[in-house]
Symmetry: C2
Subunit: 236 residues, 2 copies
DNA sequence: TACTAAATTTAGGCTCGATTAACTTTTTAG
DNA sequence: CTAAAAAGTTAATCGAGCCTAAATTTAGTA
């Protein structure tokens, strides 16, 4: 009666809550009610209600008025959802020709419907990738995540330094299209050739024999969202 | 706000009802409450309730105590679900190494989660197949189905005649595994070499240079479920 | 034709996950 | 240190879909 269903069988909602909480937690500090509500596009009292149920089920711990933390079990499920999401995104771009800006919503819906077995088949077909198309690390089947501590936002890369784009949030398709239109992709490296004060733009020069428009200017807010690794070599 | 979501956005339940009703209708006669209930594993009053809502939404017509018929709109959605299901089954077997007995459940869940765009990409990747792995016809994007009128159940293929297996229900994995274990697949042809009366078994001989066990015996009930096309050539 | 069995619908309830309105706790600013 | 603002929780409802029990309609048979 249970060949390859979705193991313990949490509801779609529960899976969404756990994943959202995980993602908030990984930005440090316990997840707050309002943040969860915003992430899930739901009113705060809905979160309070669900949080109560989830903590009664042992998926998270709730310090009233203080926020929420995943338990070991809760984190396991959350990581499973993150893995599903990122494997799906990778599969859709690699095998079905999706662009990196259009995979998020599709994966968001599919991640609740597919079986563990399908995810593993996709992972195998992809050669067990470590990162999704936006550079986010794909948790392993038993919940290990490569945390990538050396990443810094582009705004913190010093002028004159070389860096490589390593990760962009997958949330905003517009943003992803814009980033791509600048010639930037995960793995592309560049030199930071200037930065204006007062939250002004950062100027970069793409490395390699890129056609025209090797020089680009990136606004402050966007530059905050581009996670880079600073490369050793300095440039004159 | 609506890039490639699931167009009008019916609920999972509604999609299931419409598809089930379509499948019952295509066996002739309007779909009865109890038959729908059984197909969906739901109590009859649940069907009455849903039927009321669906007919108020114009997706079907309800003659109380008489059964239910899809409207044009209802049929369109039902066919969309059938197309999704069969494309998914074909994709999973062709591209991800699933066996024909294990795709049904996976497709059943995925068909509610994926977008039209994903289905079309899969269809394209497959070269727009006309039939799924069980031989069932795949409706086109605009709802045309190849009805295959020349199919007869194996029990009606006369002894001495040649036939080719063209379609098996995808519902029962056990049955599909068993059929496969006999050396039968969609497209395999064989001669009917005997049939016992009183709902007794049918004996067949597989065509071509099949290893050992070219002769197989198939019980009455199973033989009812194997849709074949009778081939022109007679055999001594 | 009347009576029973089967099929269907109605009535009443439940759970899940969401909402708004009202209340409580925590944080922050003066 | 206190008062207002912000954040969180509780209470009361709602709708979708399901259920069981109790009518009701249809169908089949004596």
């Amino acid at each position: 009666m249970n060949r390859d269903r979705k193991s313990p069988g949490y509801s779609r909602s529960i899976e969404d809550y756990l994943k959202a909480i995980y993602e908030l937690e990984s930005e440090g500090s316990p997840a707050q009610t309002s943040a969860i509500a915003e992430a899930l596009n739901v009113a705060p009292p809905s979160v309070s209600g669900m949080v109560k149920r989830l903590s009664e089920s042992g998926l998270l711990e709730h310090a009233p008025y203080r926020g929420v933390q995943l338990t070991r079990t809760g984190r396991r499920t959350a990581l499973k959802m993150v893995r599903r999401h990122r494997i799906l995104e990778t599969y859709l771009t690699t095998k079905l020709g999706y662009d990196w800006d259009s995979v998020h919503d599709e994966a968001e819906r599919m991640e609740h419907a597919v079986s563990d077995g399908l995810i593993e088949r996709m992972a195998m077909a992809l050669g067990y990738p470590r990162h999704d198309p936006h550079g986010a690390p794909i948790p392993t089947k038993d919940g290990e995540v490569d945390e990538q501590e050396d990443l810094v936002p582009l705004i913190d890369v010093p002028v004159g330094g070389m860096a490589e784009l390593r990760m962009v949030s997958d949330r905003d398709p517009e943003l992803l299209r814009f980033v791509a239109s600048l010639g930037l992709r995960v793995g592309v490296s560049f030199e930071v050739i200037g930065r204006q004060p007062f939250k002004g733009p950062t100027a970069i020069r793409l490395a390699g024999p890129h056609a025209k428009e090797r020089d680009q200017v990136i606004g402050h807010e966007l530059a905050e969202g581009l996670s880079c690794v600073v490369l050793g070599g300095e440039v004159g």
